[in-house]
Point group: C2
Chain length 422, copies 2
């Protein structure tokens, strides 16, 4: 990795697949056909894209049980413990409805209500991650969502990944369908005979899934469209090069377009990390992916002091940020833009990916400037509550009618006056 000096206005090379016009058109056609032909379209597309002829879409309780008994006791117990940690962290985010009361009798507030139904998309194939099931399902559970549906494309044997099914069972859901791609998103958004429609769709997927989510956005809610994984590490001379290099590589192994950036005040660390990355790369099973990511998207940025480093990180707005410096909490307070912030030597990024409890679904591609990790708020909505008392009404009726007339809305003014003014 090359070491460069910080200059104002970092523009990271980032790669987000926006899809081609042809892909977009294909997705629109798939959605239209699912809306028209329902289940039949789902069977047809599954045969075409997943090369399997299904006899039913729903995964049975027996299949789920079989999956659970097929994974090792050790794996089952690790997933269960991770689920407990995730559940616990997300339940702490729960908010109450609230209300203010005035002695005049007026009450104003917000009523918090969980969504009725949520669909979770889980990718199939080599990217079948049980952690993704936990991270998408458990916040919805914590929010109080009653119906949580999982969809995932079947393998050529017609089955879903056993680890994914076991994670679903551990997360406490049982409505699962073997269907993936844009067709699954369409079914969740508009419903078929078998799959009742939902109010929000979450979970990662390939470009067709991402484009389909974009298309149905507005008719249902969606989570963010995720780009490749990113890590920035802000470190001073107190950090150890092997740790830093290993963490950079943990993101690089995800995707050839993953972005791994070290921002440091220590030129010694910078040089050591550059060497360590080369050394550790050699023995990685996913070496080809990680090597390409480091070559194309990896950077080491040298800053004159920690304030400059903080500034650089805020410009980057990374998905994951590790702070391995003296006084890491004071540094954290000055970070404005990051999806998740890991403090200190023992908060290696994979701790958060799997186990600590906070969500691993995080804003990528600089969207941490305005987006949040997946959280309980994403599965609840608010309604304003307005109970205006007669006293306050009479006190203010004339002003309210006056404001309405200022905007030329006479019927608004009359709705006030018909109740009598002071």
């Amino acid at each position: 990795m090359l070491i460069e000096k910080y200059t104002e206005g970092i523009s990271l090379k980032r790669s987000v697949d926006a899809g081609t016009a042809e892909q977009r058109k294909a997705v629109q056609e798939i959605i239209a056909n699912v809306r028209k032909d329902g289940d039949q379209a789902l069977y047809n597309y599954t045969e075409t894209f997943d090369q399997v002829k299904l006899e039913k879409l729903a995964v049975s309780e027996a299949e789920i049980e079989r999956a659970v008994s097929s994974i090792s006791n050790e794996a089952y117990s690790i997933i269960t413990e991770a689920a407990e940690n995730i559940r616990s962290f997300h339940e702490k985010q729960l908010r109450n409805s609230w209300m203010t009361t005035k002695e005049s009798g007026t009450m104003l507030g917000q009523k918090i209500t969980p969504l009725d139904a949520v669909g979770v998309y889980v990718p199939g194939g080599t990217a079948a991650y049980p952690s993704s099931v936990l991270m998408n399902v458990l916040p919805a559970k914590a929010a109080g969502v009653k119906r949580i549906v999982m969809v995932s494309p079947p393998g050529k044997d017609g089955r879903l990944s056993e680890a994914v099914l076991a994670a679903a069972k551990i997360a406490g859901i049982s409505e699962i369908y073997s269907v993936g791609g844009a067709q699954a998103i369409a079914a969740l958004a508009y419903g078929t005979d078998t799959i009742a429609k939902v109010d929000k769709i979450v979970g990662p997927g390939n470009i067709f899934v991402a484009l389909a989510k974009r298309e149905v956005f507005g008719d249902v809610a969606i989570d963010m469209i995720a780009g490749p994984s990113e890590i920035a590490i802000l470190a001073d001379e107190s950090a150890l090069a092997p740790d830093v290099a290993a963490d950079l590589l943990s993101q690089a192994e995800h995707d050839v377009r993953a972005s791994s950036v070290l921002v440091t005040t220590s030129s010694v660390l910078a040089e050591e990390v550059a060497l360590e990355v080369e050394k550790q790369l050699e023995k990685l099973p996913r070496r080809e992916i990680a090597e390409a990511a480091i070559r194309d998207y990896g950077r080491i940025i040298l800053c004159t002091d920690i304030e400059e480093g903080i500034h650089a990180v805020n410009e980057i707005a990374p998905e994951h940020l590790e702070i391995i410096t003296k006084d890491s909490f004071e540094v954290m307070a000055k970070i404005r833009h990051a999806g998740a912030i890991f403090l200190g030597r023992y908060s290696s990024e994979p701790v958060g990916d799997y186990f600590a409890g906070p969500n691993h679904v995080l804003p990528t591609n600089g969207t941490a400037r305005f987006s949040s990790p997946l959280n309980v708020d994403d599965f609840q909505k608010k309604s304003s509550i307005i109970m205006y008392s007669e006293t306050d009404f009479r006190e203010n009726a004339e002003k309210i009618a006056g404001f309405a007339r200022l905007e030329g809305l006479e019927a608004h003014a009359r709705a006030i006056e018909i109740r009598g003014v002071k």
Copy 2:
């Protein structure tokens, strides 16, 4: 208005303008040109669409002051008092960052940070509403957003509405540009020499503005895409027909596609309201609009009991809901889907439009199933905080590495193990 009996599965006729393929193409071209030519494109489009040749985009402090002194003292004081109420309600929504601490030393939490910069679109022409300025700007202010920019298309005299400028002054913002349409959205999303880009764009607009917001979504955050106004009134025999009719008409006067629905357990009220609507319509200045809306989108739905009425309202998921019944709070508790809920005789919908304090930017077209009124959360984002202690790390390192290997991510496991396991 016809009176119909409730039947399961209400499907309201609702009209959302999704735009034509030509409009979408035009918007994409405008955005591309603004990205390419910056300010010059803004001047050109303003000349084309607003028929005015501007010499500068920024509205000066002197112009704002002139607008303030041009409106009546009474109007100034009503807008100021409304702003106070809105500010107060939104400040109550503010949340603190939070953290849990374990004796083992691990700390987990959420850091809450306001967005850096927000753009507020304010329509021009006859739809120039000072209330809209307050409702979009003040939640961002309450959230702590430092830079709030307003854009609005100039009239043919090159100026913005005085009431709108005065409301901006009262709301406490001064960065204002005379530019509207898709070109203004493009400028806010990508920046020009004059207009620095923002992180989120909010505010209503015509179809070109709505399509432009959809196009830039992802590069910046946007609020919801609003459809025509809607009101549902859930009333029993305790409601007065003139009140109910006036409130139905207050929404109907907004738009020929506005939806006004009465859901009632009282056939007497149903008949009286039908007559009252006709009667009140006759004398309305915006009669043509309201009459068309009532004819095409107005409905009176008769239910056998209040439970059925609640069910009907939840199926409709209205933007505004008035509950004018006995025990209106008990009824409210059972409402799952509504943007804003107004309780009792004196909570006429216009009370909330202008004055009470809750936001009037609300989810339309059934999106109250998954969306909320504009609120302070819309202008803040969260970052997860993970400070994992050495004790907890050593306790769990093996499990975390195990989970990573379960997913085939060896570099993740090694990032853990390089720090030493128990």
